[in-house]
Amino acid sequence: MGYLGRIWHGVATTAVGMKLTWRHFFTKPTTIQYPEEGAYFSPYERGLHEFEPDKCISCQLCAKACPVDCIEIVGPKLAVTKYEIDYAKCLFCGLCVDPCPVDCIHMGQQYDLTSFERVEGTKIDFVKGEGPWRTARTSAAPGAGLQREV
Protein backbone atom coordinates (compact mmCIF):
# COMPACT_ATOMS: atom_id res chain seq x y z
CA MET A 1 0.00 0.00 0.00
CA GLY A 2 1.42 3.34 -1.01
CA TYR A 3 1.55 6.54 1.00
CA LEU A 4 -1.77 7.95 -0.20
CA GLY A 5 -3.37 4.52 -0.01
CA ARG A 6 -2.44 4.31 3.65
CA ILE A 7 -3.91 7.70 4.39
CA TRP A 8 -7.10 6.72 2.63
CA HIS A 9 -7.17 3.40 4.47
CA GLY A 10 -6.77 5.20 7.78
CA VAL A 11 -9.63 7.59 7.05
CA ALA A 12 -11.90 4.84 5.73
CA THR A 13 -11.40 2.49 8.68
CA THR A 14 -11.90 5.37 11.10
CA ALA A 15 -15.19 6.12 9.38
CA VAL A 16 -16.29 2.48 9.80
CA GLY A 17 -15.66 2.59 13.54
CA MET A 18 -17.32 5.96 13.95
CA LYS A 19 -20.39 4.75 12.07
CA LEU A 20 -20.69 1.77 14.39
CA THR A 21 -20.61 3.85 17.57
CA TRP A 22 -23.00 6.34 15.97
CA ARG A 23 -25.49 3.48 15.53
CA HIS A 24 -24.89 2.30 19.08
CA PHE A 25 -25.51 5.80 20.41
CA PHE A 26 -29.14 5.59 19.30
CA THR A 27 -29.87 2.17 20.75
CA LYS A 28 -31.90 1.91 23.92
CA PRO A 29 -29.82 1.63 27.10
CA THR A 30 -30.13 -1.78 28.71
CA THR A 31 -29.64 -0.36 32.21
CA ILE A 32 -32.28 -1.18 34.80
CA GLN A 33 -32.43 1.72 37.26
CA TYR A 34 -32.49 -0.54 40.26
CA PRO A 35 -34.44 0.93 43.17
CA GLU A 36 -37.10 2.39 40.89
CA GLU A 37 -37.26 -0.36 38.31
CA GLY A 38 -37.30 -4.07 38.91
CA ALA A 39 -35.56 -6.69 36.87
CA TYR A 40 -37.52 -9.26 34.88
CA PHE A 41 -37.68 -12.74 36.35
CA SER A 42 -39.12 -15.96 35.05
CA PRO A 43 -42.53 -17.01 36.43
CA TYR A 44 -40.70 -19.97 37.97
CA GLU A 45 -38.25 -17.73 39.84
CA ARG A 46 -37.75 -18.86 43.43
CA GLY A 47 -37.79 -15.57 45.30
CA LEU A 48 -39.27 -14.65 48.68
CA HIS A 49 -42.15 -16.89 49.72
CA GLU A 50 -45.80 -16.05 49.36
CA PHE A 51 -48.08 -17.44 52.02
CA GLU A 52 -51.88 -17.80 52.35
CA PRO A 53 -52.55 -17.83 56.14
CA ASP A 54 -56.27 -18.73 55.96
CA LYS A 55 -55.50 -21.99 54.14
CA CYS A 56 -52.69 -23.22 56.40
CA ILE A 57 -53.59 -26.25 58.55
CA SER A 58 -50.43 -26.02 60.68
CA CYS A 59 -49.39 -29.55 59.66
CA GLN A 60 -45.65 -28.71 59.93
CA LEU A 61 -44.88 -30.65 56.73
CA CYS A 62 -43.08 -27.67 55.20
CA ALA A 63 -41.05 -27.18 58.37
CA LYS A 64 -40.05 -30.83 58.30
CA ALA A 65 -39.17 -30.69 54.61
CA CYS A 66 -36.97 -27.68 55.11
CA PRO A 67 -33.32 -28.77 54.92
CA VAL A 68 -32.14 -25.86 57.08
CA ASP A 69 -35.02 -25.70 59.57
CA CYS A 70 -35.89 -22.11 58.90
CA ILE A 71 -39.70 -22.30 59.15
CA GLU A 72 -41.52 -21.80 62.46
CA ILE A 73 -45.29 -22.35 62.67
CA VAL A 74 -47.41 -21.60 65.75
CA GLY A 75 -51.20 -21.93 66.13
CA PRO A 76 -54.14 -24.29 65.53
CA LYS A 77 -55.41 -25.63 62.24
CA LEU A 78 -56.77 -22.92 59.90
CA ALA A 79 -55.86 -20.22 62.42
CA VAL A 80 -52.09 -20.05 62.61
CA THR A 81 -50.82 -17.14 64.66
CA LYS A 82 -47.26 -17.23 63.44
CA TYR A 83 -45.64 -18.42 60.24
CA GLU A 84 -42.08 -17.19 60.32
CA ILE A 85 -39.26 -17.84 57.88
CA ASP A 86 -35.68 -16.96 58.81
CA TYR A 87 -34.11 -15.64 55.63
CA ALA A 88 -30.64 -15.81 57.08
CA LYS A 89 -31.01 -19.58 56.84
CA CYS A 90 -33.38 -20.02 53.87
CA LEU A 91 -31.66 -21.18 50.74
CA PHE A 92 -34.63 -20.75 48.41
CA CYS A 93 -34.67 -24.43 47.42
CA GLY A 94 -38.46 -24.61 47.17
CA LEU A 95 -38.67 -27.94 49.04
CA CYS A 96 -41.28 -26.47 51.40
CA VAL A 97 -43.71 -25.89 48.53
CA ASP A 98 -44.19 -29.48 47.32
CA PRO A 99 -45.33 -31.29 50.52
CA CYS A 100 -48.04 -28.74 51.44
CA PRO A 101 -51.41 -30.58 51.29
CA VAL A 102 -53.45 -27.35 50.99
CA ASP A 103 -51.11 -25.52 48.66
CA CYS A 104 -50.69 -22.48 50.88
CA ILE A 105 -46.95 -21.75 50.50
CA HIS A 106 -45.43 -20.69 47.19
CA MET A 107 -42.18 -19.27 45.93
CA GLY A 108 -42.77 -15.65 44.85
CA GLN A 109 -41.14 -13.21 42.49
CA GLN A 110 -39.67 -10.93 45.15
CA TYR A 111 -35.87 -11.12 45.09
CA ASP A 112 -35.03 -7.96 46.94
CA LEU A 113 -33.80 -8.28 50.53
CA THR A 114 -32.46 -4.75 50.90
CA SER A 115 -33.60 -1.87 53.05
CA PHE A 116 -32.84 1.79 53.48
CA GLU A 117 -32.53 1.54 57.26
CA ARG A 118 -30.52 -0.68 59.53
CA VAL A 119 -32.86 -3.48 60.60
CA GLU A 120 -32.96 -5.99 63.41
CA GLY A 121 -33.26 -9.65 62.56
CA THR A 122 -33.65 -11.58 59.40
CA LYS A 123 -37.10 -13.10 59.94
CA ILE A 124 -40.36 -12.38 58.20
CA ASP A 125 -43.64 -13.27 59.89
CA PHE A 126 -46.06 -14.00 57.06
CA VAL A 127 -49.19 -13.95 59.20
CA LYS A 128 -48.60 -10.41 60.37
CA GLY A 129 -47.32 -9.65 56.89
CA GLU A 130 -44.32 -7.78 58.20
CA GLY A 131 -40.61 -8.19 58.24
CA PRO A 132 -37.41 -6.23 58.45
CA TRP A 133 -37.10 -5.53 54.73
CA ARG A 134 -38.84 -2.94 52.64
CA THR A 135 -40.24 -5.68 50.48
CA ALA A 136 -43.56 -4.40 49.23
CA ARG A 137 -45.31 -7.70 49.65
CA THR A 138 -44.47 -8.17 53.28
CA SER A 139 -43.95 -4.82 54.94
CA ALA A 140 -45.63 -2.07 52.96
CA ALA A 141 -49.21 -3.25 53.45
CA PRO A 142 -49.82 -6.19 55.82
CA GLY A 143 -51.24 -9.08 53.88
CA ALA A 144 -50.83 -7.38 50.53
CA GLY A 145 -49.40 -9.58 47.83
CA LEU A 146 -49.70 -12.70 49.88
CA GLN A 147 -52.27 -13.96 47.41
CA ARG A 148 -50.70 -15.71 44.51
CA GLU A 149 -50.92 -13.67 41.34
CA VAL A 150 -51.82 -15.82 38.36
Partner: protein
Amino acid sequence: MKDYIDGLWSKHAFLQDNLPVGLGYTTGILLACTAVLLLVSLFAGEIVWMERRIAGRIQARIGPNRVGPQGLLQFLADGLKLMAKEDIIPSGADRMVFLIAPYIVFAGAFAAFAAMPFGYGLVPADMNFGLFFMLSISSIEVVGVIMAGWASNSKWSILGTMREVAQMISYEMPLAISSLTVVVLAGTLNLTDIVQQQSGWIWSWWVFRSPATFVGFFIFFTAALAALKRAPFDLPEAESELVAGFHTEYTGFRFAIFFLAEYAGMFFFALLTSVLFFGGWHIGVPIDLSTGFGRALGFLVLFGKSAAFLSIMIWIRWSLPRYRVDKVMYLCYKVLLPWSVVAVVVAALQVLITGGR
Protein backbone atom coordinates in the same frame (compact mmCIF):
# COMPACT_ATOMS: atom_id res chain seq x y z
CA MET B 1 -14.94 44.54 30.68
CA LYS B 2 -11.52 45.50 32.02
CA ASP B 3 -11.58 48.66 29.95
CA TYR B 4 -15.07 49.50 31.16
CA ILE B 5 -14.13 49.32 34.86
CA ASP B 6 -10.88 51.16 34.23
CA GLY B 7 -12.89 53.81 32.37
CA LEU B 8 -15.03 54.43 35.44
CA TRP B 9 -12.02 56.05 37.13
CA SER B 10 -11.51 58.61 34.39
CA LYS B 11 -15.22 59.43 34.31
CA HIS B 12 -16.02 59.86 37.98
CA ALA B 13 -14.13 62.42 40.04
CA PHE B 14 -15.29 60.76 43.27
CA LEU B 15 -13.36 57.62 42.51
CA GLN B 16 -10.31 59.58 41.42
CA ASP B 17 -10.24 61.53 44.68
CA ASN B 18 -10.79 58.67 47.08
CA LEU B 19 -9.25 55.59 45.53
CA PRO B 20 -5.85 54.96 43.95
CA VAL B 21 -5.86 55.12 40.15
CA GLY B 22 -4.33 51.69 39.63
CA LEU B 23 -7.17 50.06 41.55
CA GLY B 24 -9.58 50.29 38.63
CA TYR B 25 -7.18 48.50 36.33
CA THR B 26 -6.41 45.82 38.93
CA THR B 27 -10.07 45.27 39.79
CA GLY B 28 -10.93 45.03 36.13
CA ILE B 29 -8.29 42.41 35.49
CA LEU B 30 -9.24 40.44 38.60
CA LEU B 31 -12.93 40.49 37.69
CA ALA B 32 -12.22 39.37 34.14
CA CYS B 33 -9.97 36.58 35.42
CA THR B 34 -12.59 35.41 37.92
CA ALA B 35 -15.32 35.45 35.31
CA VAL B 36 -13.26 33.42 32.86
CA LEU B 37 -12.07 31.05 35.58
CA LEU B 38 -15.62 30.39 36.74
CA LEU B 39 -16.93 30.00 33.21
CA VAL B 40 -14.15 27.66 32.15
CA SER B 41 -14.25 25.56 35.33
CA LEU B 42 -18.02 25.20 35.17
CA PHE B 43 -18.00 24.28 31.52
CA ALA B 44 -15.07 21.89 32.01
CA GLY B 45 -17.13 20.20 34.71
CA GLU B 46 -20.07 19.93 32.38
CA ILE B 47 -17.82 18.45 29.69
CA VAL B 48 -16.97 15.64 32.09
CA TRP B 49 -20.69 15.02 32.53
CA MET B 50 -21.24 15.22 28.76
CA GLU B 51 -18.44 12.76 28.10
CA ARG B 52 -19.80 10.27 30.60
CA ARG B 53 -23.34 10.53 29.27
CA ILE B 54 -22.28 10.12 25.63
CA ALA B 55 -19.93 7.27 26.53
CA GLY B 56 -22.76 5.63 28.39
CA ARG B 57 -25.15 5.85 25.48
CA ILE B 58 -22.54 4.49 23.07
CA GLN B 59 -22.11 1.49 25.38
CA ALA B 60 -25.89 1.03 25.82
CA ARG B 61 -25.73 2.41 29.37
CA ILE B 62 -27.32 5.57 30.76
CA GLY B 63 -24.43 7.33 32.47
CA PRO B 64 -24.60 9.60 35.53
CA ASN B 65 -28.16 10.84 36.00
CA ARG B 66 -28.61 11.09 39.75
CA VAL B 67 -26.94 14.30 40.97
CA GLY B 68 -29.08 17.23 39.91
CA PRO B 69 -31.34 17.26 36.87
CA GLN B 70 -30.14 14.54 34.49
CA GLY B 71 -26.91 14.32 36.50
CA LEU B 72 -25.79 17.83 35.51
CA LEU B 73 -24.21 18.45 38.92
CA GLN B 74 -22.20 15.23 38.86
CA PHE B 75 -18.93 17.16 38.61
CA LEU B 76 -19.65 18.88 41.95
CA ALA B 77 -20.09 15.51 43.62
CA ASP B 78 -16.90 14.23 41.98
CA GLY B 79 -15.00 17.35 43.03
CA LEU B 80 -16.21 17.08 46.61
CA LYS B 81 -15.21 13.44 46.70
CA LEU B 82 -11.73 14.24 45.39
CA MET B 83 -11.27 17.07 47.90
CA ALA B 84 -12.16 14.73 50.74
CA LYS B 85 -9.36 12.34 49.73
CA GLU B 86 -5.98 12.21 51.37
CA ASP B 87 -3.27 14.22 49.64
CA ILE B 88 -0.53 11.64 49.23
CA ILE B 89 3.03 12.60 48.34
CA PRO B 90 5.23 9.58 47.54
CA SER B 91 8.20 9.28 49.89
CA GLY B 92 10.67 9.19 46.99
CA ALA B 93 9.16 12.22 45.31
CA ASP B 94 10.89 15.53 44.75
CA ARG B 95 8.52 17.32 47.09
CA MET B 96 8.63 20.90 45.91
CA VAL B 97 8.43 20.10 42.20
CA PHE B 98 5.74 17.53 42.84
CA LEU B 99 3.60 20.11 44.63
CA ILE B 100 4.04 22.90 42.07
CA ALA B 101 3.48 20.83 38.91
CA PRO B 102 -0.35 20.71 38.90
CA TYR B 103 -0.58 24.48 39.21
CA ILE B 104 1.73 25.03 36.26
CA VAL B 105 -0.32 22.66 34.12
CA PHE B 106 -3.51 24.41 35.17
CA ALA B 107 -2.01 27.87 34.64
CA GLY B 108 -0.96 26.92 31.12
CA ALA B 109 -4.38 25.54 30.26
CA PHE B 110 -6.17 28.49 31.82
CA ALA B 111 -3.95 31.34 30.60
CA ALA B 112 -4.68 30.29 27.03
CA PHE B 113 -8.22 31.59 27.47
CA ALA B 114 -6.91 35.14 27.99
CA ALA B 115 -7.13 36.07 24.33
CA MET B 116 -10.20 33.96 23.53
CA PRO B 117 -13.13 35.94 22.14
CA PHE B 118 -16.18 34.50 23.90
CA GLY B 119 -18.56 36.77 22.06
CA TYR B 120 -18.90 40.16 20.42
CA GLY B 121 -16.79 42.46 22.64
CA LEU B 122 -16.41 39.69 25.22
CA VAL B 123 -12.72 39.08 25.16
CA PRO B 124 -10.60 39.14 28.34
CA ALA B 125 -7.59 40.64 26.56
CA ASP B 126 -7.91 41.68 22.93
CA MET B 127 -4.39 41.14 21.60
CA ASN B 128 -3.07 41.72 18.09
CA PHE B 129 -1.12 38.48 18.36
CA GLY B 130 -3.91 36.53 20.07
CA LEU B 131 -3.52 33.24 18.23
CA PHE B 132 0.26 33.26 18.62
CA PHE B 133 -0.10 34.00 22.33
CA MET B 134 -2.58 31.17 22.82
CA LEU B 135 -0.59 28.51 21.00
CA SER B 136 2.60 29.44 22.80
CA ILE B 137 1.18 29.77 26.30
CA SER B 138 -0.74 26.52 26.06
CA SER B 139 2.58 24.72 25.54
CA ILE B 140 3.64 25.76 29.07
CA GLU B 141 1.57 22.74 30.02
CA VAL B 142 4.43 20.54 28.79
CA VAL B 143 6.73 21.98 31.47
CA GLY B 144 4.25 21.12 34.19
CA VAL B 145 3.86 17.64 32.79
CA ILE B 146 7.62 17.04 32.80
CA MET B 147 7.79 18.30 36.38
CA ALA B 148 4.92 16.07 37.48
CA GLY B 149 6.30 12.99 35.78
CA TRP B 150 9.89 13.47 36.91
CA ALA B 151 9.08 14.45 40.50
CA SER B 152 6.76 11.50 41.02
CA ASN B 153 9.71 9.09 40.98
CA SER B 154 7.59 6.36 39.42
CA LYS B 155 8.22 4.35 36.29
CA TRP B 156 4.68 4.76 35.04
CA SER B 157 4.87 8.50 35.45
CA ILE B 158 8.18 8.92 33.69
CA LEU B 159 7.19 6.66 30.77
CA GLY B 160 3.94 8.54 30.35
CA THR B 161 5.75 11.85 30.58
CA MET B 162 8.28 10.93 27.91
CA ARG B 163 5.53 9.85 25.55
CA GLU B 164 3.45 12.89 26.32
CA VAL B 165 6.24 15.40 25.84
CA ALA B 166 7.29 13.82 22.56
CA GLN B 167 3.70 13.82 21.37
CA MET B 168 2.74 17.30 22.48
CA ILE B 169 5.85 18.94 21.08
CA SER B 170 5.51 17.09 17.78
CA TYR B 171 1.86 17.87 17.31
CA GLU B 172 2.28 21.54 18.06
CA MET B 173 3.88 21.92 14.66
CA PRO B 174 0.96 20.74 12.49
CA LEU B 175 -1.38 22.51 14.92
CA ALA B 176 0.30 25.88 14.49
CA ILE B 177 0.95 25.47 10.78
CA SER B 178 -2.63 24.42 9.97
CA SER B 179 -3.98 27.40 11.89
CA LEU B 180 -1.66 29.51 9.74
CA THR B 181 -3.87 28.76 6.73
CA VAL B 182 -6.52 30.97 8.28
CA VAL B 183 -3.99 33.54 9.40
CA VAL B 184 -2.49 33.84 5.91
CA LEU B 185 -5.91 34.33 4.33
CA ALA B 186 -7.23 36.60 7.07
CA GLY B 187 -4.06 38.65 7.27
CA THR B 188 -4.26 38.97 11.05
CA LEU B 189 -3.47 37.09 14.24
CA ASN B 190 -6.19 38.94 16.16
CA LEU B 191 -8.96 36.44 16.83
CA THR B 192 -11.68 39.09 17.07
CA ASP B 193 -10.77 40.30 13.58
CA ILE B 194 -10.67 36.73 12.30
CA VAL B 195 -14.20 36.18 13.59
CA GLN B 196 -15.45 39.49 12.22
CA GLN B 197 -14.24 38.50 8.75
CA GLN B 198 -16.59 35.51 8.93
CA SER B 199 -19.79 37.51 9.32
CA GLY B 200 -22.56 37.05 6.79
CA TRP B 201 -23.74 33.83 5.24
CA ILE B 202 -22.49 30.43 6.23
CA TRP B 203 -20.10 30.14 3.25
CA SER B 204 -18.08 33.07 4.55
CA TRP B 205 -16.85 30.90 7.41
CA TRP B 206 -13.15 30.23 6.88
CA VAL B 207 -13.54 26.48 6.57
CA PHE B 208 -15.72 26.90 3.46
CA ARG B 209 -13.76 29.75 1.88
CA SER B 210 -10.72 27.95 0.58
CA PRO B 211 -9.54 24.37 -0.03
CA ALA B 212 -6.51 25.24 2.10
CA THR B 213 -8.57 26.06 5.18
CA PHE B 214 -10.84 23.06 4.56
CA VAL B 215 -7.88 20.70 4.71
CA GLY B 216 -6.39 22.88 7.45
CA PHE B 217 -9.44 22.33 9.62
CA PHE B 218 -9.10 18.53 9.56
CA ILE B 219 -5.36 18.73 10.27
CA PHE B 220 -6.00 21.24 13.05
CA PHE B 221 -8.66 19.11 14.67
CA THR B 222 -6.59 15.92 14.50
CA ALA B 223 -3.51 17.68 15.85
CA ALA B 224 -5.62 19.24 18.60
CA LEU B 225 -6.82 15.77 19.62
CA ALA B 226 -3.20 14.61 19.82
CA ALA B 227 -2.05 17.72 21.68
CA LEU B 228 -4.85 17.13 24.16
CA LYS B 229 -3.81 13.48 24.44
CA ARG B 230 -7.34 12.40 23.71
CA ALA B 231 -8.00 8.97 22.28
CA PRO B 232 -6.92 7.62 19.80
CA PHE B 233 -3.75 9.50 20.80
CA ASP B 234 -3.98 8.80 24.53
CA LEU B 235 -0.68 6.93 24.74
CA PRO B 236 0.66 9.17 27.52
CA GLU B 237 -2.19 8.06 29.75
CA ALA B 238 -2.75 4.60 28.30
CA GLU B 239 -4.71 3.09 31.17
CA SER B 240 -4.01 -0.48 30.14
CA GLU B 241 -0.23 -0.04 30.08
CA LEU B 242 0.76 2.97 32.16
CA VAL B 243 -1.90 3.20 34.89
CA ALA B 244 -2.53 6.93 34.29
CA GLY B 245 0.66 8.40 32.85
CA PHE B 246 2.19 11.46 34.43
CA HIS B 247 -0.47 11.89 37.12
CA THR B 248 -0.32 8.31 38.38
CA GLU B 249 1.01 9.36 41.78
CA TYR B 250 -1.36 12.28 42.30
CA THR B 251 -4.39 12.03 44.53
CA GLY B 252 -7.23 14.18 45.75
CA PHE B 253 -7.25 17.85 44.95
CA ARG B 254 -4.03 17.84 42.92
CA PHE B 255 -5.42 15.14 40.69
CA ALA B 256 -8.61 17.18 40.36
CA ILE B 257 -6.53 20.10 39.10
CA PHE B 258 -4.90 17.93 36.43
CA PHE B 259 -8.30 16.62 35.48
CA LEU B 260 -9.79 20.09 35.25
CA ALA B 261 -6.84 21.30 33.18
CA GLU B 262 -7.34 18.44 30.76
CA TYR B 263 -11.00 19.24 30.21
CA ALA B 264 -10.32 22.98 30.12
CA GLY B 265 -7.85 22.19 27.34
CA MET B 266 -10.57 20.32 25.45
CA PHE B 267 -12.90 23.28 25.84
CA PHE B 268 -10.12 25.60 24.68
CA PHE B 269 -9.46 23.72 21.47
CA ALA B 270 -13.16 23.30 20.75
CA LEU B 271 -13.60 27.06 21.12
CA LEU B 272 -10.52 27.77 19.03
CA THR B 273 -11.74 25.48 16.25
CA SER B 274 -15.10 27.26 16.16
CA VAL B 275 -13.45 30.68 16.26
CA LEU B 276 -10.85 29.99 13.59
CA PHE B 277 -12.78 27.89 11.12
CA PHE B 278 -16.49 27.93 11.96
CA GLY B 279 -17.43 31.56 12.26
CA GLY B 280 -17.03 32.12 15.99
CA TRP B 281 -20.19 33.76 17.28
CA HIS B 282 -21.70 34.26 13.82
CA ILE B 283 -24.74 32.16 13.13
CA GLY B 284 -24.39 31.81 9.38
CA VAL B 285 -27.03 34.36 8.37
CA PRO B 286 -26.22 38.05 8.06
CA ILE B 287 -27.83 39.73 11.08
CA ASP B 288 -26.44 42.42 13.34
CA LEU B 289 -24.85 40.80 16.39
CA SER B 290 -23.64 44.00 18.06
CA THR B 291 -26.94 44.62 19.90
CA GLY B 292 -27.55 43.30 23.41
CA PHE B 293 -29.67 40.42 22.16
CA GLY B 294 -27.20 39.72 19.37
CA ARG B 295 -24.32 39.51 21.82
CA ALA B 296 -26.16 37.05 24.03
CA LEU B 297 -27.15 35.00 20.98
CA GLY B 298 -23.58 35.04 19.67
CA PHE B 299 -22.25 33.89 23.05
CA LEU B 300 -24.69 30.99 23.09
CA VAL B 301 -23.97 30.13 19.46
CA LEU B 302 -20.23 30.00 20.13
CA PHE B 303 -20.84 27.70 23.08
CA GLY B 304 -23.15 25.55 20.98
CA LYS B 305 -20.49 25.21 18.31
CA SER B 306 -17.81 24.30 20.81
CA ALA B 307 -20.20 21.79 22.39
CA ALA B 308 -20.60 20.22 18.95
CA PHE B 309 -16.84 19.87 18.56
CA LEU B 310 -16.57 18.50 22.07
CA SER B 311 -19.19 15.89 21.21
CA ILE B 312 -17.15 14.90 18.19
CA MET B 313 -14.01 14.58 20.33
CA ILE B 314 -15.91 12.42 22.81
CA TRP B 315 -17.44 10.37 20.01
CA ILE B 316 -13.97 9.75 18.56
CA ARG B 317 -12.60 8.81 21.96
CA TRP B 318 -15.22 6.14 22.56
CA SER B 319 -14.94 4.75 19.03
CA LEU B 320 -11.30 4.31 18.18
CA PRO B 321 -8.58 2.12 19.66
CA ARG B 322 -5.24 3.59 20.70
CA TYR B 323 -2.43 4.22 18.19
CA ARG B 324 0.94 2.56 18.44
CA VAL B 325 3.75 4.93 19.54
CA ASP B 326 5.60 4.88 16.23
CA LYS B 327 2.35 5.28 14.29
CA VAL B 328 1.55 8.43 16.24
CA MET B 329 4.86 9.90 15.17
CA TYR B 330 4.33 8.63 11.61
CA LEU B 331 0.99 10.40 11.47
CA CYS B 332 2.48 13.62 12.76
CA TYR B 333 5.71 13.89 10.77
CA LYS B 334 4.81 12.12 7.56
CA VAL B 335 1.12 12.93 7.12
CA LEU B 336 -0.08 15.96 9.05
CA LEU B 337 3.06 18.08 8.89
CA PRO B 338 3.65 17.88 5.09
CA TRP B 339 -0.02 18.35 4.30
CA SER B 340 -0.34 21.33 6.61
CA VAL B 341 2.66 22.93 4.88
CA VAL B 342 1.02 22.24 1.52
CA ALA B 343 -2.19 23.84 2.81
CA VAL B 344 -0.33 26.98 3.90
CA VAL B 345 1.41 27.20 0.52
CA VAL B 346 -1.96 26.87 -1.24
CA ALA B 347 -3.39 29.57 1.02
CA ALA B 348 -0.42 31.82 0.23
CA LEU B 349 -0.86 31.23 -3.49
CA GLN B 350 -4.54 32.08 -3.12
CA VAL B 351 -3.64 35.37 -1.49
CA LEU B 352 -1.05 36.02 -4.21
CA ILE B 353 -3.50 35.36 -7.04
CA THR B 354 -6.69 36.89 -5.66
CA GLY B 355 -5.04 39.65 -3.66
CA GLY B 356 -6.40 38.37 -0.36
CA ARG B 357 -10.07 38.51 -1.32
